[in-house]
Symmetry: C2
Subunit: 548 residues, 2 copies
């Protein structure tokens, strides 16, 4: 593998551990915990792992030699910057506790455990991946560990390799399944601890006990670099409106963080659209209104940030899509109709309300809603080019406004979608430190003998040496939610809180940003240089801490 | 304007000037020059500015005090990283020669000269823009300075402001026009020198005397950062083929440089496609062949770089587009036909060869070719989503191969287009130094009293202190070319040379890169840190120098 100059230089970066973790560690138990909701049901579902205490790590003045341990590690779900450093920290941690400890990586995600595909991660391998982006050290995958047969099959290989602790690095679903697996192994006396680490660029795995998921910091910095560059271009050329869609389907944290960093003219927050029960036309009117107001000042340019999942947060679109799914599931001969007859069929069979929404969509999007379907027959919402849908509808709305004498400008839209550009970037100093510490900390959770815990570091707005290390039972983040028609215990997803400081800050500024071009140009992530440039956490994290 | 932490810290970067330019400067005349072709015609068109000598700057052991001078500056055409530093260098240069010198910036491109829109650039303003991206200090525009009336109108404001030298920062067309303007002003004894600076991210303004245009270094580094990140994602997830289109319509320098930096599985070079007279199907077969070969190894993922201008380099497509332009110009009622009848009309009226090409295109693209037309009635080639066109055709080809038992894999394409993301990035150390030196050097060309010259720095693969400073007559880069039906003197555009070292290096490696995933991950531009990381020039420049 040919390495870039940056990779070579960055390999020698030594992540800065919390002081507590720099020597031998003592686990201090807090009070018993409870799930955030549905405590009775959840306690029944987790008889062996519910109600456990939070753990806080302190320096151990009387260290005892640690025992060697064999540990397995899994990367689960979408890539996020810093995953390699979690594994490097875990490796260094278990080696520090006892140099005879071993680390095994299961390949291509949770499926590797079930299918017994793994490699031993030795220091030669580990050293190649320090402070790098990507999940390619062992690969990742989306197989869900949910079934008893998977658990039992996995246990076979764990026993065979003498593995007594498994670390699952993943998002809310993967950590949910880590807790279920922990409970199962504990219940059958398998002798395998299961621990989680909070990963996702989306930023929606966070709560009172997990301050941030790793990867969010780096990914939003990459997107903000690009948005800043585009804004500088936009402000220099003064002739385009840039519609920029940002990854993050369930929550708008990425869009909100990027907006705080770059100060665009417009940023749509899905959670607000839903809370205000806005229609697609409401969103279009909002954007068109700002385009027209800027045009009145002679500014026929601007930027709009759009969260990837917007469509699914618009109540009227959600209803339309649900009815389309039902309708087309039954209409077996639909694909044999001509495009004109398909449209006619759809409009005649939808409810009046949904038919109106459908008729208001640009032809291409309307057609896409009836064409591309996933294996379950559902509309593939992620294929809808929301950024083009919006700009097309805004363009039409502006022409109506022009006819009514309310607009007299030029509207030339350009489109961008950023997602894959940021998921595997080399981690920022924050994520390099955070991930390494999460992995290192997980080693001490293993040493403490606990299961069903997530590796936890808090006080994240402070320099990393001051972070507080420990672990929290995953079950304390649970509530019951309907999934595929059944009530299940799951980690509550963190959506953007409209009463939270990050959104409030944005909401207080956006009207000014809309009219005045107040663009900020963050530039690329810097790994060396002034601390002001290199060692900043996200604005989301900063404002959330101000809230506390 | 709220500044990012990086902007604030970067403002204090002091570009490293060539040693020659650090004191007083003496201009040494070389031999008279000649244009690269069509010397007789061009010498007649430029009676006052043809055949002038090259200038080389040396340290002046006997400096005489310089005279104060009023200078105008114009940013012309598309944004390129470092434009602000050219202006900062020019400002510092004329102030160094005499502190009473003044700099005026004409607003929003050459149009500002004609329309008398300008600001005086004082040190307060200049200091806000040091080492920043964008052209927003005075804006840019695409008005072409070509007509006598424009020249005369411009001269009015130059006279009014006492400006005796004008620096035009632009690409090949803008420098061509700078030379024509220089000749005109010289011819009428206007007393205004006109000088050029070589700008364009496309990298196609270079030749024996101009080693590189500014902005190419930074832009290709931004694109390579993103391509590298996507490749790391691709290699981690192992399930997508990424089709990545890169800006650069006339030449494939950007795609080639990015390929050398990132080692993708596939990179199409337009100049090669044209030289080999390849059809669109040939390109599709080439890509599909590599997709199938990788699939045979179990690798259903990869990356393809595509230069923006590809379509126009495919001879068969060029012919088709030309005939379509003619055909539809005459078919005044075409837009009244139904889509089906439009297609029928086109197929019936094209030549047999062109009809075959047209019929082979995906429906959406075929339709686009007959729909979107520019004000002159021509197909808007830049609107064609070449990355989607290719992936769709590759997908179809793979299904044919599957039917023939030649392919047994999965093909899930994703699409990206990078252009605006890089044009206004904060300049790399190379571009920051190069641009500042180009502007500073232009001040000395003014002091030397010449006109029709382009600011020139050579030896660019060496540290900037060792660069050779001077100037070359723009007319020596000229040849005669047909433009809008007339033969005109223009700067020869530099296309990718298939016998040049950059392409040869790529060609020698690409078969290995196609099958082996040899991805390199350059990471983001670093402004601080190890010189290996921060101070590298492009691989194109490096290999071109090896060629010399």
């Amino acid at each position: 593998m040919k390495k870039s100059a940056l990779q070579i230089a960055r390999a020698s970066y030594q992540p800065k551990l919390p002081v507590t973790l720099t020597g031998s560690v003592k686990a201090v138990e807090g009070k018993p915990t409870h799930s955030v909701a549905d405590q009775e049901e959840i306690s029944k579902l987790f008889p062996n792992t519910y109600g456990l205490p939070e753990l806080t790590f302190e320096k151990n003045p009387n260290p005892v030699p640690g025992k060697p341990i064999n540990v397995g590690v899994i990367l689960s779900g979408g890539q996020a910057p810093g995953g390699h450093n979690v594994i490097c920290g875990l490796f260094d941690g278990i080696k520090k506790i006892n140099r005879d400890s071993r680390l095994y990586g299961f390949l291509m995600g949770p499926g590797g455990l079930v299918d017994h595909k793994y490699i031993e991660l030795t220091s030669d391998i580990i050293d190649e991946y320090r402070n790098t982006g990507g999940f390619d050290i062992i690969g990742s995958g989306r197989t869900k560990l949910e079934k008893k047969e998977q658990f039992d099959k996995g246990l076979e290989i764990l026993k065979q390799l003498g593995i007594t602790a498994l670390v699952i690095i993943g998002g809310d679903d993967s950590n949910t399944n880590a807790a279920i697996l922990a409970e199962y192994y504990k219940g059958i006396g398998a002798g395998v601890q299961v621990l989680g680490c909070p990963k996702t660029i989306d930023g929606d795995l966070k709560n009172d006990v997990v301050e941030a998921s790793f990867g969010f910091d780096t990914a939003t910095k990459v997107y903000s670099e690009l948005i800043g560059n585009i804004q500088r271009d936009c402000f220099s050329a003064k002739k385009y409106w840039h519609f920029i869609k940002l990854m993050g389907r369930s929550a708008s944290h990425i869009a909100l963080e990027c907006a705080l960093q770059t100060q665009p003219n417009i940023c749509i927050i899905s959670e607000e659209v839903e809370a205000k029960n806005m229609t697609l036309n409401d969103v279009v009117d909002y954007i068109a209104g700002i385009v027209a107001a800027r045009a009145a000042d002679g500014n026929n340019f601007g930027t709009v940030l759009i969260p990837e999942g917007l469509i699914e947060f618009i109540p009227a679109m959600k209803n339309l899509i649900a009815q389309l799914n039902d309708l087309l599931a039954k209409a077996t001969d639909f694909h044999k109709l001509s495009p004109e007859d398909q449209r006619k069929f759809v409009l005649e069979n939808l409810s009046k309300e949904n038919a109106e929404v459908y008729a208001s969509l640009p032809l291409g999007v309307a057609r896409q809603l009836t064409l591309d379907r996933d294996p379950h027959g559902n509309v593939q919402v992620s294929l809808i080019e929301t950024e083009k849908l919006l700009s097309e509808m805004v363009g039409r709305r502006l022409e109506e406004m022009r006819a009514a004498g309310q607009y007299n400008g030029k509207f030339s839209p350009l489109h961008h979608f950023f997602g894959y550009e940021g998921r595997c970037a080399a981690p920022s100093n924050f994520d390099a430190d955070y991930c390494y510490a999460l992995g290192f900390n997980a080693a001490w959770l293993i040493d403490a003998g606990v299961t069903g815990y997530i590796s936890s570091l808090r006080n994240l707005t402070k320099p990393s040496v001051q972070w507080l290390a420990g672990g929290v039972p995953i079950s304390m983040m649970f509530n019951m939610e309907r999934r595929h028609g059944e009530m299940k215990p799951v980690i509550q997803k963190a959506l953007v809180r409209l009463d939270g400081a990050p959104f409030q800050r944005f909401a207080a500024k956006r009207d000014s940003w809309a009219i005045n071009s107040a663009y900020v140009y963050p530039g690329p992530i810097q790994y060396w240089g002034p601390a002001d440039v290199c060692d900043q956490c996200t604005m989301t994290l900063k404002y959330e801490h101000l809230d506390k």
